[in-house]
């Protein structure tokens, strides 16, 4: 219902996928603040899929409560105290489980799509 909704229909990133993207981002980039995570996902995803940047915060709190991500205080580029998010050990393990699961299911779907009658 906000203005952005009306200007251009965007496809929201599914919840499970967003978790995977955040975990992967934190693994490759190390500790990041929220804006950093959002920017990184946008960059890697390219312009075709638009992220409501705010939607990473509910995902982050979910990951935190599951014990996969933890926070610490740091200083932003604008010289402000902000939360930095980083992967925990459990988070790293979870990321690898999810990557394996993801690859398995994409491979499965791919085989079906390639299958000839």
């Amino acid at each position: 219902m906000s203005i952005s909704d009306m200007s251009k229909p965007t496809q929201e990133i599914p919840r499970g996928m967003l978790d995977l993207l955040i975990l992967r981002t934190l693994e490759t980039m190390g500790a990041l603040h929220g804006y950093g995570i959002a920017r990184r996902i946008e960059q890697v995803a390219g312009g075709d899929r638009r992220l409501s940047q705010g939607s990473i915060y509910p995902a982050l709190v979910r990951l935190q409560q599951q014990g996969w991500v933890r926070t610490r205080w740091g200083t932003s580029e604008t010289n402000r105290q902000v939360k930095f998010y980083e992967l925990t050990k459990a988070g790293t393990k979870q990321l690898h489980i999810e990557i394996a699961g993801w690859q398995e299911s994409t491979a499965l779907v791919a085989r079906f799509l390639e299958a000839k009658p």
Partner: protein, 876 residues
Amino acid sequence: MRRAWRRLVAVVHRDRIDRELDEDVRAHLELAERDARSAGLSPDEARRAALQCFGPIQAMKEAHRDERGLPGLEHLVRDVRYGLRAMGRSPRFAAVAVCTLALGIGANTAIFSVVDAVLLRPLPYRDADRLVTIASNTGPGMRREAFTAVSYPDYQDISRLTDAVAGAAAYSNDRYNLIDAGEPREVQVTRATPNLLSVLGISPVVGRGFTAGEAHAPVAIVSHALWLSDFGGDMRALGRPIFLDGKPFTIIGVMPGNVPFPDASTEAWIPIWWGIADAPAMAEMRLYRAFSMVARLAPGASLGKLRDDLDLLGKHITASGEATSKFGTGERFAATALRDQVAGDARQPLLILFGAVALVLLIACVNAANLLVARANGRQKEFAVRRAIGAGRWALVRQLLVESVLLALAAGIVGLLLAAAGLDVLAAQLPHGYVAGIDGRVLGFTVVLATATGLGFGIVPALRASAPALDQSIRDGAGATVGRSHRRARNLLIVSEIALALVLLVGSALLVRSFIAVTTINPGFNPQGLLTARIRLTPERYPTVSQKRAFFAELVQRLRTQPGVSAITFSDGAPLSGRRRMVGTNPQRIRPEDPDQFLAVEAIAVGPDYFSTMRIPILQGRGIAADDEREGAPPVCVVSKSLADRLWPGRNPIGQPGMGRRDDVKVVGVVSDVRSESLERAGGLAVYSPTTDDDRAYDEMWLVLRSAHPLRVAPALQAAVRSLDATQPIAEIATYDQIIQQQYARLRLITALITLFAALALVLAVIGIAGVTAYAVSQRTRELGIRIALGARTIDVLRLLLSETVLLVVIGLGIGSAAAFGSTRVLRSLLYGVTSTDPTTFGAAALALGLVALVATYVPARRAGRVDPVVALRNV
């Protein structure tokens, strides 16, 4: 699990987490804005771009909260807060709704606590629902309805039905004079087989139960109450004696405090055969019926199985031709669950009261629902706004239900206070030994009832109010006329309130008529100014009849000269005292064409002046005189009118051979019938004889004296007994007015309660109907204004409004009459002198309710007739 805990923590720390999230968002936007500016945008454009990329902040915060916390709980908390605020905005509405519902809920709570105490709470025995009582029916053709005591051989036969019975005990109730250091008093004692405690599944709190070898031993188990009052709860009471009729019984145990077996007034338990000289013979006589029985069902056996086995046993005994009573052979058994036996007569009145309070609550709910509908109409704009900013229909319904449940819970609290106050009155009327009060169970009931009530009366208004008709409500608030659906709801309300109230009014009117009829019954004697005292002489101190006679003769002699005593007599029975001695006779011996071979007649041994003291009219011949007590006097009897009519119809009974111990007894008089069993039951067959003609007289006697101030004579009576024998207690002393009031105490209580509930229903219905009419008038001000502007007179407007209501009231009365017709039959056993479908009562109740409903409509409607059309049309 860990996540659930963290969610809970997040709910508790919601303010801090929200603050931190705000920080994150602010930092995020700042960074985004900086990047956008460095890409060449103006500060304004940069800010807008940052916000756009971020997406809707409020929605994100909601998602954040839902993700981390417990969304259901938080919504509930928010709804409750909102509801409380909404209530605070209209305190008058809240107060009216709470008071209305509190009356309904309070009445239900009070009655429930009694129902719970008497009917629902388990009896204090192990697996109490496996316990049954067994009674027997003998007599010619076994046509007598009453099942009574069993014999010892019956008990032994039933104990051997091991497929159905896991254990059975026999017992009988007895009264003894407890004579020790204190004031002598009569106590109720139960003689029981030694296994009674194990059958009930209880054990003494102190000491032990009977052993199998103690069936004849002078040992006693005492009640907790007696242990406290006579021994101060001292452990050393064990082994000490209590003196029953002056005989020592060694105390071997103390019962737990809550054992009301066979009833709560029992103070001691002794072995079944103690002191009975011919016990071995009695134990083998099938016709010696002196025992009650309690049995425990065998594991896996049902009550039906026991009944089948008992039927077989009965047939077997009947077939054997063994005498089962003085009147012949044949026997039949009946088994009843102990719980039903104990609750007995209290069950039906309690269920009736429960039904009545349920009706009151329904009326209260209808009223509350109507209040909610009216208020929801006033809040249409608020709902429309909430919907416009994104609240779904479910969110609105939930919000409204939370509000109605809040109202009901508040009403529940007020209702509990009302119930607690009312219970003080009710508890005194409970069967002996029951305790009703507000406890955890009652509290739980109230909470569940209040919640259900809140949902029940809230659901329809909530669904209606949340129905999407929002453009209209936003635009014009109050419509020119009332919508059809609201009018339908209003009609339904008036009809149902009238119908529900009528059911209660009819019930109440029937009971009031019965009560008036019962209190104006002529019992056949004049109870005013009569004082009675029941005296059971201690047999050990007065072993012979002549000693007993001498005691009573002396007592009467001393009291006769007492100032204030105008007449005095004695007898071995007293009407309405609950104790009657029945003898069986064969009427065909006197009147061969009589259809029956067996007639139960009440036999009363009376002293001289009995009929004049009681003021029982002598219809023919004379009463029993002092001369009849002389030794060698010819044996005489006096019969009641109905007995004379039965035995000698159309003939003069005087001089006929009558009924008595001796065959040469002659009838010397006929007296009018006395209602002896109960006030409601018309007078009985009775035969009166002199006390000298009956060996069994004098065991227990009623002294009856007449005085202008009977209570003032009571101390003189007590003093006279004490001066004759300081160890002799008076078992009961009461005026006859008290005895008679006891007779209808229960009817009076039920009548008072049902009438109270009917009055509540009437008041609630009047409030409801008046409120609904007033609201309808206020909604239709514009329409009425137009009518008046077009020339309608006040009377026309009134007629318009009243005619609508009259139709509804008539429909409601019709439905209510039908419902009452179907339901008042439950009152039948309580009614006297009026049938449960008495047309006069129905008509009067309907007429009264109809008039009240019309007044309730007229008063607010009259205001409509005075509507100023100019004001009405301008103000909409």
